[in-house]
């Protein structure tokens, strides 16, 4: 019996499995464990300068004290709900703008001559060579009331008093779209470049206008690129902290700021953890539903 168990154990940890084990372990240590710690914190309470442990070992008995107060608090204060909503709104706006600007750009790149494409990809990546923080600060100098944009518009006589652009939803959206645009362009490009041009020729031969061809052939075929790009933009945009801090105004409420307040101003790590867990669930839920729907429609296609 024991020998069989050992041999079974061995066969599991051999060969292919052993190779898979390393990345799996890596994922577990760097992604699952921190998440579990955060989950553990979210059921706890703050002491003077430490997080109370929910596990207690006394008199040969393990007691687990799960405090749901942090989660119940969400219902008592509309701040959290309003902030989640506003974060999702800004993330959605950012994603739509990125898609609207990124799609033509990716299309252009994919249709460019083959020897030019690496250079175009390079150009998209170029901003990453400068610090992210510096690039956001640059927008600040452009958008302030005595900044470049206002000076130019006033010199041209378009406006007479400087526009209030900084610290508004406008400046926030510009900064977010600017920062996340490459994450939309690159997956779209990777998808569009593989598009079979013969399909477009066939559509043209059969009398479809270029406009119709685009909507009936190109867009449906690039669906996966659109989804990948949108996810890459939407998910980090929801939790974005730096851009709203630098470019947003006092009325552009984002969940990153609320998290900062919980963690630093309130020194309440358990509450901050609860805010994070709810945020993850909020983002995860639509994605899982979407993936499930996507997988079903795919299997239907095959059937």
């Amino acid at each position: 019996m024991l020998a069989r168990l050992i041999s079974r154990f061995r066969s599991v940890f051999r060969g292919r499995n052993a190779v898979i084990l390393v990345p799996m372990l890596w994922l577990f240590v760097l992604s699952a464990v921190p998440l579990l710690i955060v989950l553990n914190f979210s059921f706890s309470e703050m002491e003077i300068a430490s997080v109370a442990s929910i596990w207690k070992w006394a008199d040969d008995a393990l007691t687990i004290k799960i405090n749901l107060g942090n989660y119940l608090y969400f219902g008592q204060d509309p701040l959290y709900f309003d902030t989640y909503l506003s974060s999702l709104k800004f993330a959605a706006i950012t994603t739509l703008w990125c898609l609207a600007l990124g799609y033509p750009f990716a299309y252009f790149m994919a249709r460019a001559q083959a020897h030019l494409r690496p250079m175009l990809v390079m150009l998209v990546m170029l901003p990453f060579w400068t610090s992210f923080l510096l690039r956001i600060y640059a927008w600040k100098t452009l958008l302030v009331s005595n900044g470049l944009v206002n000076q130019l518009l006033m010199a041209l006589g378009v406006i007479h008093t400087p526009l209030q652009m900084m610290n508004t939803p406008f400046s926030l959206t510009i900064g977010m779209v600017y920062a996340y645009l490459p994450f939309m362009i690159l997956p779209l490009y990777a998808n569009l470049v593989k598009l079979d041009v013969r399909l477009l020729e066939a559509a043209a031969d059969l009398g479809a206008s270029p406009w119709k061809t685009f909507w009936l052939i190109t867009v449906p075929l690039s669906k996966r690129g659109i989804i990948a790009g949108s996810m890459l933009v939407f998910i980090p945009a929801v939790g974005e902290y730096v851009i709203p801090e630098l470019l947003g105004g006092p009325d552009t409420l984002m969940i990153g700021r609320v998290l900062w307040d919980e963690f630093f101003s309130n020194n309440d790590w358990p509450m901050a953890s609860a805010v994070t867990i709810v945020m993850i669930l909020l983002i995860l839920l639509p994605i899982t539903i979407f993936n499930k729907y996507n997988a079903e429609s795919k299997s239907e296609e095959q059937a």
């Binding site: 060969g15 300068a49 430490s50 204060d77 701040l79 309003d82 006092p250 630093f264 309130n266 020194n267």
Partner: protein, 372 residues
Amino acid sequence: MKSPFSKRLAVVLAAAVVTAGLASSAWADKEKVLNIYNWSDYIAPDTIANFEKETGIKVRYDNFDSNEILHAKLVAGQTGYDIVVPSSQWAKIQIQGGLLQKLDKSKLPNWKNLDPSLLTQLSKVDPGNQYLVDWLWGYTTVGINVDKVKAALGGMPMPDNAWELVFNPKYMAKLKSCGVSFLDSPSEILPAALHYLGKPPYSQNVADYNAAYNVLKPIRPYVTLFSSSGYINDMANGSICVALGWSGDINIARRRAIANKSGQNIEALVPKNGGLAFFDTMAIPVDAPHPENALMFINYILRPEVDASLTNTVFYANPNKASLKYVTPVVANNKTIFLSPEDQKKLVIPDAVNNDVRRVMTRLYTRFKTGV
């Protein structure tokens, strides 16, 4: 099939863990290194260089700009810093939470230079003065651009109490035209509003804070900027005319305006019922890797010349009685830096508030700022 790769990897990983553990514990004591975490723009240009030259200790000097950041680091532990400079009301919580270590005063011969009255005030948060040594101190108050405020107020006379300027909508409505800046922190604005109301500024009573919010709400439309550091420049170049800010910063704005010949006449006011004092204090974290070097540095700072050079640079008063004769006359005679005995008596000494009150403060401040 055996898998030599994963085996080798395990060996390498184990070796790395062991080496890292050994390195951190054995070397720390003998290292001639000192890691300091202090507020930004809060030191003289030659302070660190002179200390390094004299002792041969290499100093790494990092900056923060809010107590919240420092506190979170200390709570997380293993900061690697040997000296941190929390404000006293935060240090109180850190002492209670066991995050700081007691000072070995036998290594601090210059302790004798400290102003006894200041030590008494600090003993409110640090009984027996066992953990904290004041770095510099100042107070939260109102700073104005004298000419612009006069012009904005029109025929209205200046209020008797400087807090009226920033908390009374009657004045704020007029001042909006020339720009009003508030410090961007609940722990600065709410105590000031409570003090203006005549309630205890560090009250543990939630109802008091709701009353303070009712003072803040009507003036929100008139606050044009929330800033805890940028307002210095905005004051100096005249783009704001009133600031709820820190005394030394307002004096820095004043000096910059004079140096740039911008023609702005900046002045820090001393409110009739007192400003809100703050003491930024040197402390050694409980897990500091080089506590001996930290004590050497604290003793060095407490030399009269060194403390005086700090005050001469950043316009905050130091706790060092013996340093006064080294402070330049312009600074020493500035009654908003070294307060008169009457004004000093009226200063409100800061205290810590409990976690529930802090949550209420943050929440009310968010509502004040965003309207949500």
